[in-house]
Amino acid sequence: MTQPAIFFEEVNERQGVFHRRAILMGAFAGLGVGALGARLAYLQLFETQRYEKLATSNQFNFKLMPAPRGIIVDRNGAILAANRPNFRLMVARDKGMDPEATLHTLAEYVPLDEARQRRLLKDINSAPKRAPVQVMEDMSWEQFSAINVRAPELPGVTADMGEVRVYPHGGAFAHVIGYVAKVNKEDVEKAGPNPDPIMLHPSFRIGKQGVEKAFDLALRGRAGAKKVEVDANGREVREDAKGDIPATPGKVIELTLDADVQLRAEEVFGEESGAAVVMDVRNGDLLCLFSGPSFDANRFVRGLTGVEYRGLAQYDHKPLFNKALTATYPPGSTFKTMVALSALEHGYDPKTVHVCTGHWYFGRMWKCDAVHGAQDLHHAVATSCDIYFYQTALWLGPDRIAETARKFGLGEIFDIGIPGQKKGLVPDTAYKKRRFPKDPKWHPGETPSMGIGQGYTNLNPLQLCVMTARIANGQKSLHPRLIRSIGGVEQKSGAAWGDLPVNKDNLHFVREAMAAVTTIGTAARVADLGLGDVKMAGKTGTAQAYSYGSGRGVHGTAGAWKLRDHAWFVAFAPYDAPRYAISVLVEHGGFGAAAAAPRAREIMRTVLLKDPEVMKRVVRPAPMPDLPPEMQNQPDAADGIVTAHAPTGKPA
C-alpha cells in the first residue's frame, strides 16, 4: 500500500471529524445507558408491586392436603372405621437421576424383587416427569427412616407418611360402612361441573359404598393446604409451616350399631348366607345390620386384583350383596303375624276353629306340614298351621292383609342414611291389575298363598325386623335408625314417627301367640335363651325358594343348596317387656326353626346380656348361704370379706 499524501490540514480535518463524532458516540452511549436507567426506574420503582406479586406466585405454591377422614364408631364409641399412618415410598422421574439405579439402591432397604423392579421401572418411565409413582406402601418405621436418611442423595425418591383407611373388624361391617377407594372418572363426573380439587389428589380416597359413600362429604372434612417454596422445575425447596392452611378433619359418624352384636352375628352365620337385623323396639335404633358372608373392606381400600374381585363376584353366596337391605325373599310363615293381626282388626273371632288334616281342598289340594287337628288362631300361629291361614286369608282377602302389612313397614323403604334398600312387594288387587294387564283379576286361588307369606309377597330382612319391632312396641310406628349422630349432631329418633293405627289388644294377642311359638310352638326349644324368665317370643318362617310342585324346590336341607327353602325367624325379647326385635334370614337354610331360630337366639342373647336392665332380671342377688353358727360373730365375715377359712364365697 502506498503511503498517501496526507497534508497537515487533512490530518486535522480527520481528527476534527473524529473528535466530533466521538463526542456524539459518547452522547449516544450515555443516552443508551440513560434509557436503561429510565427503564430500570420504571420497572423497579413504579411497577414493583406488580412484579413482586408475580415473583411470589412463582415462588410459592399451595399444596392441597387431604383432611383426616372422619372416623366411624358404634354406639359405644368402638371404632369401626379409622385411619392409620401409612409410610409410603415414591419415586419420580427427574433430571439427573437414573430410575433403574435408584430402584436398585432402594432394593437394599425394602423388598423389591427383579420382576417388581422391572414393572415399576416401566411405570416410572411412562409416568409424567416428576409425577411420583408409589413403590412401596406400609413400610415399617425402620425402612421408612433408613430411606429418609438416604433420600438427599437419591433424587426423585420421597418417603412420606400418608393416611390409609382401616376397618378393624374387616368384614363384619363391610356392607353397612362400605369402603373407600381411589377416585375414578365417574366420581369426578358425578361431582358436577366444579369438583372439589381434593378429588384429584393422588392420596385422596372417596367413599364407594354404604356410610362411607352416603356421608362422604361429612367424612371428607375440608382439605388444608401446605405452603411450599418451589423452584422453576416445580421441585419443593422449603416448606413454610406458618403459611399452611390447616385442614378441617372430617366429622365423626356414630352409628346405632353395637359392634359386639354385629360381630356375634358374623360369628353365628359362619359360612351361611343370610342377614340379621336387630332393632331397639323403644327407639328404632339398629343394633345389628349384618349380611353374610361378608368381605374384607380393607382389601378394597388397597385395590382388588382381578382374581380377588371375580372370586367375590362369582361366589354363589353373593358376599358383595347386602342381603339385609338389597335382597327380598318371600317372608313365609313370619307373615302369618300380619294375617292374624289383620283378621283381628277386621273383626275375626280368634276362637274360630279350623281343623287341619294335613290337606285342604280349594280349587286344588293344599298341604300342611303336619296334621294339626282342631286349632284356634292362637294355636295356629304357634304351630304355624298353613291350612288355618289359607282360610283366614280367604276370609280377609288380599287387600285387607296388604293394608295391615303396610302399616307395619312391609314394602316400605326407610331412610336409614345408606342407599340400597329394595322395596319388595306386598301384593293386592290393585297390584295384580297394574302388573298383569292380561290377567288383571285377583283370583281367589291366589289368596291362600298370600296367607302363608308366599306368592307375590317379597320382603327384605330390615322390613321384617321393623314389623317385629312395631308388634313388640305395640304403640309407635317405629322407624329404623342407623346413624346416631354426625359430628355430634343427634339424628332423628326412630320413635318420632307417630303411633300405629291398630288396636293394642289385637297386638297383644299377636305377641301372646308369638310367645306360644317359642314355648309350645314351632320354635319351642331352639328359641330358649337360657336367661331364666327372660324369654323370647317369635315366629318361624320357611319360605319356598322354588315351588315343590315344579320338582325343583327342596323342603329341608336334603337337596342342592340353591334349591332349598329360605329360613326365617323374627322375634322380640323379653316377651313380657319387649326391648329388642330381631329378624334373621338364612338363605337356603332349610327350616326356619332349625337354621334361623338358633342364630337369632344367639344374637339376641348377646344383645340382652349387654343390657343392664335385662341383666338385673337375669342376675339376681343369690341368697347368702347359711353360715355355720361359729362364723356368725366374725366381724370380717359380716363385712362380706371372704377370709381364708370362710367356707364358700357368693356364687358367681
Binding site: 471529524v17 473528535h19 459518547g26 430500570l40
Partner: protein, 384 residues
C-alpha cells in the same frame, strides 16, 4: 510519575513508563464490575465459589494480566497484525462453516484439540483493527463520501454474513454495528448515514419474514408481546422482568432473590446475570453498576479522543463501541426492550469467550493510551 508529551526520545519505550501510562483507574472500575459479577455468581450458586464465582475471578485476573501485556505491546505491532488477524478470522469462520461443532442448533464452535472457541469472537477484534488500519491511510474526503467506501463495506459484510449463516444473529449484528460505528466515526457523510439507516429500518420487515430462522422470528415476536406465551418463548423475558421489577429500590437482599435462587430466571449466570443482580440489589445496585459501565465507556472513549494517531483513535473507539453495544443490547434484552439474543453483560456475566474479547479490546484501548503520542506510519513498525 506524570509523563507529558514532551519527553526525551526513547523515554516512552521504557516498560516502567509504559506501565505507569496505563489508566489504573480504568483497571479499578473493570475490577469492580468483575467483582460484582463474582459476587452475584457466588450468590447464585447458593453461596458457593463453585462452579462459577471462582472461575470468573480467576479468569478476570488472568485476562487483566493479558490486557496489561497487550497494552505495553507497541501500537505498531497491532497495526501490523490488523490485516492478518482479520484474514485469520475470515478463514476460521469459513472453517467453522465446514467442520465446526453444532451446539444448541448453531454452528459456532471450532475445536482445536480439547480447546474449543468461537471464531466469531476473533472477528470482533479483527474487524476493529482492520477497519482502523484501513482508515488510517485514507483522507477525510474519501472516508466521507466516495466509491472507495465499498472496501470497508465489503470488509464488514463478509464476516457478518458468515456469522449470520451459523446462525448467530447476535454476534453478526454486533460485528455489523461495530463496523458501522467505525465507519461513522471515521467521518461518513451524514447523508449516507441517513440513507443507510433508512434502508436498514425498511429492510427489517422483509428480513424478519424471509431471512430469519423460525426461532429467531419467534424471539422477535415474543419480545414484542412477552405475555402472549408466558410458559413458552416469552418465559425468558417475562421472568427477567419479574426479577427486575420485584427487586424494587433496594433489592431483596444478597442471596435472597427468589427468581434467581429458585431458577425461575433462565440463564441466570450468563445472559441474565444483570437481572439477578437487579433482583438482589434493586434499583440502587443497578444504577451503580450502570454508572460503572458508563465510566468504562467514557474513559475508553476519552483514550480514543486523546490518541494522536488515526489508527489508535479508530481502534480504541471501535473496541469501545463493541463493549458499549454489549452493555446496551444485554441491558435492553434483560429489561424487555430487545428480543432475546445471546449477548451477555460483559464482565458481569459468567463466560470466558466474551471476557476474552472484551479484555483483549481493552488491551488495545490501553495500548492506544500508552502509545497515544506514537507515530504510526506504516506496517513496518518496530517491536518492543
Amino acid at each position: 510519575m506524570t509523563v507529558s508529551a514532551l519527553t526525551r526520545p526513547g523515554e516512552r519505550d521504557r516498560l516502567i513508563v509504559k506501565l505507569s501510562e496505563i489508566d489504573w483507574l480504568f483497571v479499578l472500575v473493570l475490577s469492580l464490575i468483575a467483582g460484582a459479577g463474582a459476587l452475584m455468581l457466588f450468590s447464585m450458586a447458593g453461596s458457593s465459589w463453585m462452579p462459577w464465582a471462582a472461575a470468573h475471578l480467576g479468569r478476570f485476573t488472568l485476562l487483566l494480566l493479558v490486557m496489561i501485556v497487550l497494552a505495553v505491546i507497541d501500537l505498531r505491532v497491532w497495526f501490523a497484525i490488523a490485516y492478518p488477524l482479520y484474514g485469520l478470522g475470515l478463514l476460521l469462520l469459513i472453517a467453522v462453516e465446514a467442520v465446526g461443532d453444532v451446539r444448541l442448533g448453531a454452528q459456532r464452535w471450532l475445536a482445536i484439540g480439547s480447546f474449543s472457541f468461537q471464531p466469531s469472537e476473533v472477528m470482533k477484534l479483527g474487524i476493529v483493527l482492520a477497519l482502523a488500519r484501513l482508515y488510517h491511510g485514507v483522507p477525510a474526503q474519501r472516508a466521507r463520501l466516495s466509491w472507495w467506501l465499498f472496501v470497508p463495506a465489503t470488509m464488514i459484510a463478509l464476516p457478518v454474513l458468515l456469522v449470520a449463516h451459523q446462525p448467530d444473529l447476535g454476534t453478526a449484528m454486533l460485528i455489523a454495528l461495530t463496523g458501522a460505528a467505525i465507519v461513522v466515526l471515521a467521518g461518513l457523510s451524514w447523508r449516507l448515514i441517513a440513507i443507510f439507516s433508512a434502508t436498514a429500518i425498511a429492510a427489517v420487515v422483509p428480513m424478519i419474514t424471509f431471512v430469519l430462522h423460525d426461532y429467531q422470528r419467534e424471539r422477535i415476536f415474543t419480545f414484542l408481546n412477552p405475555e402472549s406465551d408466558p410458559s413458552g418463548s416469552g418465559y425468558h423475558i417475562l421472568q427477567s422482568m419479574i426479577a427486575l421489577g420485584s427487586g424494587g429500590l433496594l433489592g431483596k437482599g444478597y442471596g435472597l432473590g427468589s427468581q434467581s435462587q429458585l431458577n425461575f430466571l433462565p440463564e441466570k449466570q450468563t445472559d441474565f446475570a444483570f437481572a439477578a443482580l437487579a433482583e438482589e440489589f434493586g434499583f440502587l445496585g443497578c444504577v451503580s453498576i450502570l454508572a460503572l459501565y458508563a465510566a468504562v465507556i467514557f474513559m475508553a472513549l476519552r483514550t480514543a479522543y486523546l490518541s494522536h494517531s488515526h489508527f489508535g483513535r479508530l481502534a480504541a473507539s471501535g473496541a469501545t463501541a463493541t463493549f458499549t453495544l454489549y452493555v446496551l443490547i444485554n441491558g435492553a434484552m434483560v429489561m424487555g426492550l430487545a428480543p432475546v439474543v445471546g449477548v451477555p453483560m460483559p464482565l458481569l456475566s459468567y463466560g470466558g469467550t466474551v471476557m476474552v474479547t472484551v479484555m483483549a479490546g481493552f488491551g488495545l484501548v490501553q495500548c492506544v493510551r500508552v502509545h497515544r503520542y506514537a507515530e504510526v506510519t506504516s506496517g513496518k513498525g518496530s517491536f518492543v
